[in-house]
Symmetry: C2
Subunit: 136 residues, 2 copies
Amino acid sequence: MNTKWLNEVHWDEQGLVPVIVQETGSNDVLMFAWMNREALTLTAQGGEAVYWSRSRCKLWRKGEESGHVQKVHEMRLDCDNDVILLKVDQAGAIACHTGRHSCFFQKLLNVGSVSGVETNWETVEPVLKEPKEIYK
Amino acid sequence: MNTKWLNEVHWDEQGLVPVIVQETGSNDVLMFAWMNREALTLTAQGGEAVYWSRSRCKLWRKGEESGHVQKVHEMRLDCDNDVILLKVDQAGAIACHTGRHSCFFQKLLNVGSVSGVETNWETVEPVLKEPKEIYK
């Protein structure tokens, strides 16, 4: 594999790049993750998303436990070469470890008028499958 | 303003949180930026996106020079409380400093079959307005 395209990516001090994951078709933003050089290489070679888990400090093949793999349709790089956008098909329509479609299921109430009123994040997306049914 | 919702956000070691910016309607991912506590507060209060510029180390009211302000329709927080998703109306339909609609205008060719062939990032989105016309 040629490496020119990998060298174009501006990796941060930890050798990572942030990755936004968007669903093909709906264009929903499903999740946010990180990749190192190896994860990006494996993703491009295999066509399925592989991330770097910062908490577990190891490669993480998305769906390896849950089955919720992400088939990559398109990969984009931003104007500063330091953020990646993946467009994927999401197996099971579930990207989040909570069993929801997207990780962004908490919505801020009363945006633009939060001065006086009580404001908070409210869960607005349903659990499609209980985590205990996903991670057995 | 109550601060409970601000305290729910898990700020990183630099006191920042990554922000994904998505266009209302098209659902296009426009850009990626960072906020500190003050930027998030100002965004929620004013209803227009304010970021923290890591390169300039100061608050950055999106559109302050270009006029390409972002009116915030919705604000979401992810399952780990450490990434924000903004849904915005993009003034001028231009989010990128290069004069393009989105910052994610570089596409990787040949995803999933990059073993042998020459692969690279290719610019696939047009410049809608020349930067010298935007930043006078």
